[in-house]
Amino acid sequence: MSQLEPSTEISGSDGVPPTDRRSFLTKVAAIVCGGLATLPPVAAGIWMFLDPLSRRGAAATFLPVTELSSVPDDGLPRQFAVVSDRVDAWTGFAAEPIGAVYLRREQGSNTVQALSATCPHAGCFVEIESQERFFRCPCHNSKFTFDGGMVAPSPSPRAMDDLECSVAKNGSIAVKWQNFYTGVAEKVARP
């Protein structure tokens, strides 16, 4: 093709780095325009993707769980569902089981101990090993006594999480429903 004569226009790429101002400005302008054009979709995408950071879980509140009469005073923990209204993004669930607690009562006592069923190690559901009389987490074999204390050796960094628990005069038991960060020695509530 006779038109393909080398010219000053392309000499910039011909062995020598382009030095003339026009070419430099063209490059900068091209990058700026291209960048500006690509910015809105990327920015809008990241903006929406980070939306979860602006969301907070439900505030920790006392939720009615059961009656005192349903927790025999034999020192053995029993599992109860925690029921609450729940909002999952756009869906509103009315009175749905949102988690589980273990309640136990010593003989003759009217105070109830409430333990979160969430293992403080990695968040699995801790189960009752009734024959061996302790709690065991099925994931990594963390063991806890029935009052939630650590049984060494255990992968769990801390004892089971106690939940605040109140017993009303009429015998109804309410538990302050909270989640805690797992894997750390300190018990820190999630926001």
Partner: protein, 693 residues
């Protein structure tokens, strides 16, 4: 490939020179990767493409299209992260993206508007390729690839339309998939596979989503890679004559491409933000969720959707199909399958035809004619839909009058025109024009209704209780504000009016009604009319019913007008008491006044002489029970069974017992539907708090 060897080697050398003199840590790192990947050569290969005759604006369309597609890829992936494909969550998740997630409106807006920009860019790119003859040897295969890419893009546009699972997408997709069933032999099976079963539902959404976000884009990316590498292999098809010396793709052509991309993005953002500007100028508050892409009411197969139209770039096909109306399935087959197939076929033949100068001219003429045809059909479709906006309907008032008087009876119209054939023909031509305006008006009404339904659904979705697990449709179906008027229109409006008496044209509608006007039923205003001697026998109350000469009319016209027994203040007290009974106590009424009114109503010498009320001993059956009158329970009761002794008993005038099942059939309306009508008549529906949630 004719390349200038000097350029190639020259640049290779430059790469070698740079790596020989590393600039610090960064340079060393760059060398490390270049030695192992050869990325410098790749970038070089990508950027230093020869552009014969220098950079030109006419070459930007391809790059702009790639940019548009990349934008769709980016925004689409992010949208994917929040979209939930199922019949019960698609609308809900799109609502959440659009109205609740930060920046969701912008992300969805860019995706929606860029899709339309892409169709426009496709047309421009195609036109440029055809006019420049860029399909000629050796570029035939790349031209065919381009046509396949075009169909893929249109396929993405079609499948994306359904994903919000709103009325608009749902009904448009029903039409599109029904047309697919016209394909010979495999049609019905094809439709069933695409729809994901015999009916539209969860799997329609999941399949369309997989097609839209998986199959089609993956195919498109593959095709695009081949398209671009073939483009590079053949080099740019320069427009002759060359105006300037050759240049490299980078940076001259890249700058022009980047400016084009920026312009495309600016237009897209402009379209999204335009309503924002309008709102600012009109001093209205800006609601971000209303910007960008629309979201209609959730898909409901049980609700008609007369505003159904495909997206504007498919409007020409929609209009084209109308040409074949009246030819049945074979006509549709011809319009939807054969003609588009022939057009695509011709386009595939373009590179072959283009070998001859005449063929090339034919190709250009064909493309321009095609675009002109598309433009014309689109304009026709728009004109049919929006004619009422600019047509002068008042000019047809005489035609409307004649049609009403003659009840559109051919013989009567002929008589009206003096049996003059020319006059009849002229009249019928005007009737046709009027019909077009009427059709357009009903389309516009449907669009307005669709907008209102969509806005209401969004309002309901924002309730503090949120959307029930069964999905938005359940909420919409239980909403008195949106369902009440529809149920009333279907079941009540053949007799009852629901017209604000203060409205300018209420009189016309009231005269046509054959039962009481229920607008504001139970309010003091409504009661004041009932107890007005001039109105009680009028069309808004008993005038057009069997009760027009009955005791109540007689009482209002004769007893109430006797100021000795009924002082005006006492009548007002009765009005206040009954309005309070219905749950609409007038603003100024004190408890004492209401109590006085209750006494007067119960009084066996006054209202109580016929009506049971409160503790009075009047037996039911002589007149409607006034205890709880106008309340929800009372209203539900009368709709269920007006012949019950609590209401009109044997005196009931024509009103069906909507909620009473007889042995043979289920009731005409369910309890839930009756409740919705009652709630709507009582203006009881969800209203958002002023500041939302």
């Amino acid at each position: 490939m004719k390349r200038n060897q000097n350029l190639e080697t020259g640049d290779r050398n430059r790469g070698a020179q740079t790596s020989a003199a590393p600039a610090g840590l960064f340079g060393q790192l760059a060398d490390f990767f270049d030695d192992r990947t050869g990325y410098r050569a790749l970038i070089h290969e990508a950027l230093y493409e020869r552009v014969p005759g220098g950079a030109r604006w006419r070459y930007v369309w391809g790059s702009a299209l790639v940019f548009a597609f990349m934008t769709q890829l980016i925004t689409g992936l992010f949208l994917w992260s929040s979209y939930s494909a199922s019949g019960q969550t698609a609308w809900e998740s799109v609502y959440y993206i659009q109205h609740e997630m930060t920046g969701g409106w912008l992300l969805r807006g860019i995706h929606h508007v860029m899709a339309q920009a892409m169709v426009v860019l496709l047309a421009l790119h195609l036109m440029q390729v055809v006019i420049d003859g860029a399909y000629r040897a050796p570029r035939e295969v790349n031209f065919w690839l381009g046509l396949v890419l075009m169909m893929l893009v249109l396929g993405m546009a079609l499948t994306g339309y359904l994903l919000p699972w709103d009325q608009k997408g749902y009904w448009a997709t029903r039409v599109a998939t029904n047309l697919a069933s016209l394909v010979p032999v495999i049609g019905p099976a094809l439709q069933q596979v695409v729809v994901g079963g015999p009916d539209y539902g969860h799997h329609t959404v999941t399949r369309f989503f997989a097609i839209h976000a998986g199959f089609l884009p993956a195919t498109l990316v593959l095709m695009l890679v081949v398209h671009l590498s073939l483009f590079r292999k053949h080099g740019l098809c320069a427009k002759q004559p060359l105006l300037k010396p050759d240049a490299m793709f980078w940076p001259d052509q890249v700058l022009k491409d980047a400016v084009a991309m920026l312009a495309v993005m600016a237009v897209v953002l402009g379209v999204i933000l335009m309503p924002c500007l309008r709102a600012m100028l009109e001093g209205r508050p800006i609601v971000l969720g209303e910007l960008g892409a629309e979201l209609g009411a959730p898909a409901d197969p049980s609700q008609p959707y007369s505003a159904a139209r495909p997206e504007w770039y498919f409007l020409f096909l929609f209009q084209f199909l109308k040409v074949f109306e009246g030819f049945g399935a074979s006509g549709e087959f011809f319009g939807a399958i054969v003609v588009p197939g022939l057009v695509m076929g011709t386009m595939f033949l373009m590179p072959i035809l283009g070998r001859w100068q005449l063929g090339h001219r034919f190709n250009i003429a064909f493309t321009l004619a095609l675009l002109a045809g598309v433009g014309l059909l689109t304009a026709m479709a728009m004109n049919e839909d929006y004619a009422a906006l600019w047509a002068d309907r008042a000019a047809f008032a005489d035609v409307e009058k004649v049609l009403e008087e003659t009840e559109n009876d051919k013989a009567k119209i002929a008589t009206h025109c003096g049996n003059d054939a020319a006059k009849i023909a002229a009249f019928e031509a005007r009737v046709k024009k009027l019909e077009k305006i009427r059709h357009s008006q009903s389309f516009l009404n449907a669009v307005a209704q669709a907008k209102a339904d969509g806005a209401r659904a969004i309002e309901l979705a924002g309730r503090p209780e949120r959307i029930p697990p069964a999905g938005m449709l359940e909420l919409v179906r239980n909403d008195a504000l949106s369902q009440g008027p529809k149920l009333f229109a279907q079941h009540c409006a053949s007799c009852h009016a629901h017209l604000d008496p203060a409205a300018p044209e209420a009189a016309v509608g009231l005269a046509k009604a054959s039962a009481a006007n229920l607008h504001g039923f139970g309010t003091a205003t409504w009661l004041r009319g009932l107890l007005d001697p001039k109105q009680v026998a009028g069309p808004a109350y008993f005038g057009n019913t069997a009760h027009k000469d009955d005791d109540m009319v007689n009482f209002v016209q004769n007893d109430l007008t006797d100021a000795a027994t009924w002082k005006p203040a006492q009548i007002e007290a009765v009005i206040a008491a009954m309005a309070a009974e219905a749950g609409h106590p007038p603003a100024g009424a004190t408890p004492a006044v209401i109590e006085e009114g209750r006494g007067l109503v119960a009084d066996v010498d006054r209202c109580g002489s016929c009506h049971h009320f409160g503790k009075n001993e009047v037996a039911l059956g002589s007149a409607p029970d006034l205890s709880g009158w106008g309340g929800r329970e009372w209203l539900v009761g009368i709709i269920v069974d007006p012949t019950h002794e609590r209401y009109y008993g044997t005196e009931n005038d024509r009103m069906p017992s909507f909620g009473k099942a007889d042995e043979a059939a289920a009731p005409m309306l369910t309890q839930q539907q009756i409740g919705l009508i009652a709630d709507w008549l009582r203006s009881e529906w969800y209203r958002p708090a002023l500041h939302g949630h």
